[in-house]
């Protein structure tokens, strides 16, 4: 049942993604609007898929890397929809929807695989750690995407030529607002996620800080985001500089992910 729902969600995500891409060419707001509704529908079905999995296995659905990817896709879509409603910038969906589809496709590789969770990865703190960190990272991923769009739009406006791309991209101030909101939500959530992880590490290994490359990289990204938020709130950094900072920070965060997944074996390598 949960596999069926997952596949349905993936199809809906795909449809919504195609809708967003089509809206680039169709010159109509309506297409992007439908794509947004498609994304919402996909999100609901995806939620049901998680629920069905919970009912079937009687445990938290976040057991392996595939589930985590699927969860990340879910959070990204949800956070984006909230942002879309609050800032009315539908064009960001052109980047977000494909990212969600890619995550879901990667997640579908491990569909239905029943994994016996090692005892040290069970418990409420682990769930809290994963949920908080993933939601925080999704917010920050959006901040990164908005930053990329900001820099592009800034460049086009400075070139002073009327192009279709200028009209397509959202207004600068809306993108800057995504930066503001994303940092404001993403940073505290990431912080709480890291703290939950540290407490859990203490109960398992007796130390808050296990020797592991992922927390090291994440901490670097976390510090960068902290710095950015500080500059924004205290010094009034806005616009271009924040966009550049957001791109640099998301780079470090992606490096943290890559480091865990590809280069090192660590407690964060699943399965």
């Amino acid at each position: 049942m949960d596999i069926l729902l997952f596949r349905a969600a993936l199809s809906l995500y795909l449809a919504s993604c195609l809708g967003y891409l089509a809206s680039l060419f169709a010159r109509r707001v309506l297409v992007a609007k439908y794509a947004g509704w498609g994304l919402l529908a996909a999100l609901v079905v995806h939620t049901l898929a998680f629920g069905a999995r919970c009912l079937a296995t009687h445990q938290s659905p976040l057991v392996d890397v595939y589930a985590a990817l699927s969860f990340f896709a879910w959070v990204l879509a949800a956070v984006y929809l909230v942002f879309q409603v609050r800032t009315k910038t539908r064009v960001l969906g052109v980047l977000v929807a494909p990212a969600v589809v890619i995550l879901m496709m990667a997640a579908s590789a491990g569909l239905g695989g029943a994994v016996a969770l090692p005892p040290i990865l069970q418990g409420h703190l682990v769930s809290a750690h994963i949920v908080l960190a993933v939601i925080g990272e999704a917010c920050l991923a959006l901040v990164g995407l908005a930053g990329a769009m900001y820099l592009l739009q800034d460049r086009l406006l400075r070139k002073k030529r009327a192009t279709r791309l200028i009209r397509l991209l959202p207004p600068l101030e809306d993108l800057d607002r995504i930066n503001h909101l994303g940092l404001l939500w993403g940073f505290p959530l990431l912080t709480l996620g890291v703290i939950a992880g540290a407490f859990w590490a203490r109960t398992v290994w007796g130390t808050h800080w296990p020797v592991d490359p992922k927390p090291a990289w994440t901490l670097l990204a976390w510090a960068l985001y902290g710095l950015l938020l500080h500059q924004r709130l205290a010094l009034g950094w806005k616009g271009r500089r924040m966009a550049v900072g957001a791109l640099a920070a998301i780079g470090v965060l992606l490096a943290a992910l890559a480091a865990t997944g590809l280069l090192f074996r660590s407690v964060h390598t699943f399965g």
Binding site: R27, R28, K88, Q153, L157, R158, K160, R161, A162, I166, R167, L169, P170, P171, L172, E173, D174, D176, G236, W237, K238, G239, R240, R241
Partner: protein, 421 residues
């Protein structure tokens, strides 16, 4: 039934003649009673905008109607016959339909793609309908014109982008700030151009207008007109701090807004985005200000460049729009052309139906011994045979009507079947 159109527009007639004609005709709706009274004119539609005065009429006798309409224009425009020839255009049937579609879709406008004309045509149509001047023919063609205009608007980008400097500035402001409500606009210099741009910005919901001028009196005058606030030049630095959009248009020979001023203001406004529009020649804003982060500076040439590009794009889109017009005119004519054969088809069917009804009535007696179901079957059979026989001539007639070749067939049919005229 025919359509005729008579009128003058900004290309064919100078303003004073258009003015005289439109004034003499009077308010929307008033000339309609007079138009409908012209011999030959069965239905009338009167359109009067600042760029055109036009009458579209449905008529059974196009020559008489056109002559009457010419007299109407001659009388109201107080024109000589020679002037009339120069200023006036006359269209019939297909050409009239095409002209109406092009006007409504804003392809015939002074600024191609401008959005007002559709509303003006709609108002004029309402006036005609209220005066009971329109009927089946005009209702159909005008609604088709609305549909065509809508298609042109949605399927081409003809009305997409700004084609005036002040609108281009407003569009850029929207690409920087998104929603303009709650933004503050500062006018440096109280010239005509900046007033125009400020009015556009107000129309887009800009929250506050501040006017800084060297002579305070002029600033106060403009402030009163725009419901804004007037300040002297000495307060420019603090105004820059509060403003989001600055439009500079003074006659000053040197820079009024220096890069250093902008830099300091930006610091104090905590780096909020600032959009500087410099439409003055010589320039008012030091070009180096454009290098500051979060500051976007456009001068008159930048804006003109955008306008030129947009105009070129509109011409490109107009070509697409003409294709749509062609298709819709053909679509309309398909219906319009069958009009001349419709009365004949109707009377043919009526005659045949009458014959059928009569014969069935007469057969009633000998059909008594049959079952109810059998009687019904016989009725159905007879109807089916008659319809099959009529099918080919009727479709043939409609097909001929598309090439305007139906007239001899109509005559023959009427004679052979003894159809009343």
């Amino acid at each position: 039934m025919h359509l005729v159109l008579i009128g003058m527009n900004h290309r064919t007639a100078p303003l004073d003649i258009r003015e005289r004609l439109s004034l003499s005709c009077g308010e929307e709706g008033r000339p309609l009673a007079e138009l409908i009274a012209i011999p030959g004119v069965d239905e009338a539609f009167y359109l009067n905008t600042c760029n055109r005065v036009e009458v579209l009429a449905g008529t059974g006798t196009p020559d008489a109607a056109l002559a009457g309409l010419r007299d109407f224009v001659l009388r109201h425009g107080n024109l000589s016959g020679e002037m009339l020839e120069r200023c006036l255009y006359l269209y019939r049937d297909e050409a009239a339909v095409r002209h109406l579609f092009r006007v409504t879709a804003s392809l015939d406008s002074l600024v191609m793609g401008e959005p007002q004309i559709l509303g003006q045509v709609k108002d004029a149509y309402r006036a005609s309908a209220e005066a009971n001047a329109t009927g089946a023919i005009l209702n159909r063609v005008i609604h088709h014109a609305f549909r065509t205009a809508k298609r042109v608007r949605t399927e081409t980008a003809i009305a997409a982008n700004a084609v005036s400097v002040s609108f281009a500035a407003v569009e850029l402001a929207k690409k920087i700030f998104g929603d303009l409500s709650g933004k503050t606009c500062l006018l440096v210099g109280a010239g005509e151009m900046s007033e125009l741009a400020a009015r556009h910005l107000l129309g887009q919901g800009v929250g506050r207008i501040v006017i800084a001028n060297r002579t305070l009196v002029r600033a106060q005058e403009l402030a009163a007109a725009l419901d804004g606030q007037a300040v002297g030049f000495e307060r420019l630095p603090e105004c820059l701090e509060a403003a989001d959009i600055v439009i500079a248009s003074t006659g000053s020979p040197g820079y009024v807004v220096t890069a250093e001023m902008v830099g300091r203001a930006l610091h104090r406004r905590r780096n909020r985005l600032l959009f500087l529009v410099d439409i003055a020649v010589p320039r008012d804003v030091e070009p180096a200000a454009a290098r500051i982060d979060n500051v976007y500076l456009y001068n008159i040439d930048d804006l003109q460049g955008i306008v030129d590009a947009n105009l070129a794009q509109r011409r490109e889109e107009a070509r697409k729009a003409e294709g749509i017009i062609d298709a819709e005119v053909a679509n309309y004519l398909e219906w319009f052309n069958t009009l001349e054969v419709v009365p004949t088809i109707v009377s043919l069917k009526e005659k045949v139906d009458a014959i059928l009804a009569g014969e069935l009535e007469r057969s009633h007696a000998w059909m008594q011994h049959l079952q109810e179901a059998d009687r019904e079957n016989i009725t159905i059979l007879v109807h089916a045979v008659v319809n099959k026989i009529l099918h080919d001539p009727i479709t043939g007639l409609k097909e001929e009507s598309q090439d305007h070749a139906a007239r001899p067939y109509v005559a023959a049919l009427r004679r052979l079947f003894h159809l009343e005229n």
